[in-house]
């Protein structure tokens, strides 16, 4: 990361037109302030994380032992589907958008987002999308039960009635994401403080810029594929129906053309966060700033040519298998570069281990494990044995839970003192970290074993040979789930009280956001800072 020398003549808000937040609910409904909107995104994401988490616990409770104990298979399928949709679109993505709203203007020295009113809309349509989605649980026939990947024809000809509401919900969240992405790009490209050249931007801003372009490229494709489903279901077309000359496999191609970049949408901002935190607590500049930027850009580009590695068993010709295998393996190179750079940043630094750093280190280790299993999955012939087993479940949970989710928690702990003006309670933060760390590994590591041993994913009941590791995973899931109550406690406690935080908060922190007082005033950088 570039060192930022800031010439900051007046930190205080001197513009007489600016004022503090309005009072009451109207403040939140009408707000165009990036900090308010960022907070709303984060709170929304946290509540979705809890709802999705409860679903995960229902799944794990049913899988605690073989046999059907708690739920019917059809409801189990609704749970796996809704858990996936809510975690991806309701928890992880909005959390990153919330962090972007809070931090990007502060990191580039902008007074607000480029399009504050659109910012308000893109948040406020989101709760409605999820109300629609969640209400489908109470509809006749139940909620979507065809998996978060909603493969046709299970999600078209054979779907419950609620699929139409699901499609509508996906359209709304897609619109929200696209508006959010346009806003972020416009902010980064047009609102940077003088002297803040592109190659001086903090990596969190860089990764978000690239993520936003990915969002604009693929969210419309998702909207397209659900629209085709809608037409197949209600208007008699045959995009995915072999009877009318369509092809169910086409659905998978279009879905994964969206789906694979989507995976990186959920991890690139995490790379940015980790690249902010590690240098701070190693007290050393990020190693290889420019190669980090190029690595993220090449991961993003590669994400468009690897989609069919999710479909190695659909009966592709040999050339297809080989091409998608090679392309997928290539992703390991830039990803490796990132991990090496983080380790090189720590090497010969001067490290301390506050809560954000603990989460960041856990991220590097556990994400890399997820990366290794990803590399194994890329090997097409071996994928015939891994595909659609718990090995895949273990893989993507390793990159998403101790990957994306840990990075969000790390970011929250890292920037929370800046938002609230209170220092962290390290004891409670560490308690949360260690409980989560143990919980995550006890939950997801055994899934590698049952997957390799032959347990398919998305089943409500399983053969006896998988029983022991499943009980273990269920115990881990409850540890992880309930330890998030500590997280909520920590955040609420920090908002309410705590030792007064300094402007810099962390000894080794660099960057514009650390030059403004803690808590950050309602309006910041009304006069752009000079970055030299």
């Amino acid at each position: 990361m570039a060192t930022v020398d800031v010439d900051l003549p007046h930190v205080k808000d001197e513009d007489p037109h600016h004022h503090g937040p309005a009072k009451g609910f109207g403040r939140w409904l009408y707000t165009t302030n990036h900090k308010d909107i960022g907070s709303m995104y984060l709170i929304f994401s946290l509540s979705m994380f809890m709802i999705g988490g409860i679903m995960a616990l229902i799944i794990r409770a049913e899988l605690f032992q073989p046999g059907l104990q708690l739920v019917e298979p059809n409801f189990f399928n609704q749970m796996t589907t809704m858990h996936g949709l809510i975690m991806v679109f309701g928890a992880v993505m909005p959390a990153f958008v919330g962090l972007a709203n809070w931090m990007i203007p502060m990191q580039i020295g902008a007074p607000d987002m480029a399009l504050p009113r659109m910012n308000n809309w893109s948040f406020w349509i989101l709760p409605f999308a999820f109300l629609i989605l969640l209400s489908s649980l109470f509809m006749p026939g139940g909620a979507p039960n065809f998996g978060w990947t909603f493969y046709a024809p299970l999600s078209t000809t054979y779907a419950p009635e609620s699929v139409t509401f699901f499609i509508f919900g996906v359209h709304i969240m897609g619109a929200s994401s696209i508006m959010g992405a346009i806003n972020i790009i416009a902010t980064i490209l047009n609102m940077r403080a003088p002297g803040m050249t592109l190659m001086k931007m903090p990596l969190f801003v860089w990764t978000w810029l690239i993520t936003a372009f990915l969002l604009i490229a693929v969210m419309p494709v998702l909207a397209g594929v659900v629209t085709m489903m809608l037409m197949d279901i209600h208007f008699g077309t045959s995009f995915f129906n072999a009877a009318g000359g369509g092809d169910p496999v086409l659905f998978q191609h279009v879905f994964w053309f969206f789906g694979h970049p989507e995976v990186y949408i959920m991890i690139l901002p995490a790379f940015g966060i980790i690249s902010e935190i590690i240098p701070t607590f190693a007290r050393k500049r990020l190693f290889g700033y420019s190669s980090m930027v190029y690595a993220v850009a090449s991961i993003a580009l590669l994400s468009f040519v690897v989609w069919a590695h999710h479909m190695f068993t659909v009966g592709m010709p040999l050339v297809g298998e080989v091409f998608f295998m090679f392309a997928t393996m290539l992703i390991a190179v830039p990803t490796g570069v990132k991990v090496f750079n983080w380790v090189a940043t720590m090497f010969r630094g001067s490290m301390t281990f506050e809560t954000p750093m603990l989460f960041a280190i856990a991220f590097v280790v556990l994400f890399t494990i997820g990366g290794f299993s990803g590399l194994m999955l890329a090997i097409a012939p071996a994928d015939f044995q891994y595909h659609d087993t718990y090995f895949v479940v273990a893989h993507f949970h390793y990159v998403l839970v101790p990957g994306a989710i840990f990075s969000i928690m790390a970011a929250t702990y890292y920037w929370l003192p800046k938002w609230t003006g209170h220092q962290l309670n390290e004891t409670m933060g560490k308690l949360h970290f260690w409980l989560s760390f143990v919980g995550v590994n006890v939950t997801f590591f055994p899934m590698h074993f049952v997957g390799l041993a032959g347990m398919p994913r998305r089943i409500p009941d399983y053969a006896l040979q998988f029983a022991d590791f499943n009980s273990m995973a269920s115990v881990g899931a409850f540890i992880f789930g309930f330890s998030q109550l500590v997280f909520i406690y920590n955040v609420i406690q920090n908002v309410r009280a705590g030792e007064k935080a300094t402007a810099q908060v962390w000894e080794g922190a660099h960057g514009l956001e650390w030059t403004i007082p803690s808590p950050a005033p309602y309006h910041t950088f009304s006069t752009p800072p000079k970055v030299g």
Binding site: P220, G224, T227, M228, T237, F239, L250, V254
Partner: protein, 193 residues
């Protein structure tokens, strides 16, 4: 300065929104693109050539086993099977076979056979000169029929392919005869394979 920035932002927003709309269109463009891609690579085993084949000579140095397989998708009550399960053919040789279909229900029905070939690599080398799958098949209640298939295996079929399986899934199109007709007109190439 601020105004200039606003103009810049507006222009950027218009461009990005256009890009988003274009990508929505691209999602739909993937459908025909996929067909083109399949035609070139044989990705989904559907890129047969139709009509009279221009095959120069019969290759008597090897034979290929051609298998016929039928599938009744859900809700299709007809009896449907190949009269011959498999045959050995010389590449380049014109071959004729039939499929038997019987509408065992008490109502008039219309069906459409949808073909698929495995290995998909072989699909472009299986020329269908004439096939019942080019058209819809109506059958009165309780009647049966034998439906013809005339095909040639291209002599250029790669050496390592020794068996070609041609599968037909027979779909009931009685209900959406009308809607499907529209689709057929729009998209002749895909439905009438």
């Amino acid at each position: 300065m601020a105004e200039q920035n606003e103009i810049k932002t507006n222009r950027l927003v218009v461009r990005l929104a256009t890009a988003a709309i274009a990508m929505f269109g691209f999602g739909f463009a993937l459908v025909p693109l996929y067909d083109v891609f399949c035609d070139i690579t044989g990705l989904n085993g559907k890129n047969f050539s139709q009509g009279p084949a221009e095959v120069a000579s019969v290759d008597r140095s090897r034979t290929v086993k051609v298998q016929f397989v039928t599938v009744n998708p859900a809700g299709m009550p007809w009896d449907f099977k190949p009269t011959v399960r498999s045959m050995r053919v010389y590449p380049g040789e014109d071959k004729h076979t039939t499929f038997y279909a019987k509408n065992s229900t008490g109502e008039w029905m219309v069906a459409q056979a949808v073909p698929s070939v495995t290995p998909s690599e072989a699909a472009p080398y299986l020329h269908k000169v004439n096939c019942f799958c080019f058209d819809r098949q109506p059958l009165d209640a309780g009647t049966d029929t034998e439906m013809p298939l005339l095909f040639v295996v291209d002599p250029e079929l790669p050496e390592h392919i020794s068996t070609i399986t041609l599968s037909y899934a027979l779909y009931d199109l009685t209900d959406d005869q009308k809607v499907a007709q529209l689709k057929l007109d729009n998209d002749k190439g895909r439905t009438s394979l």
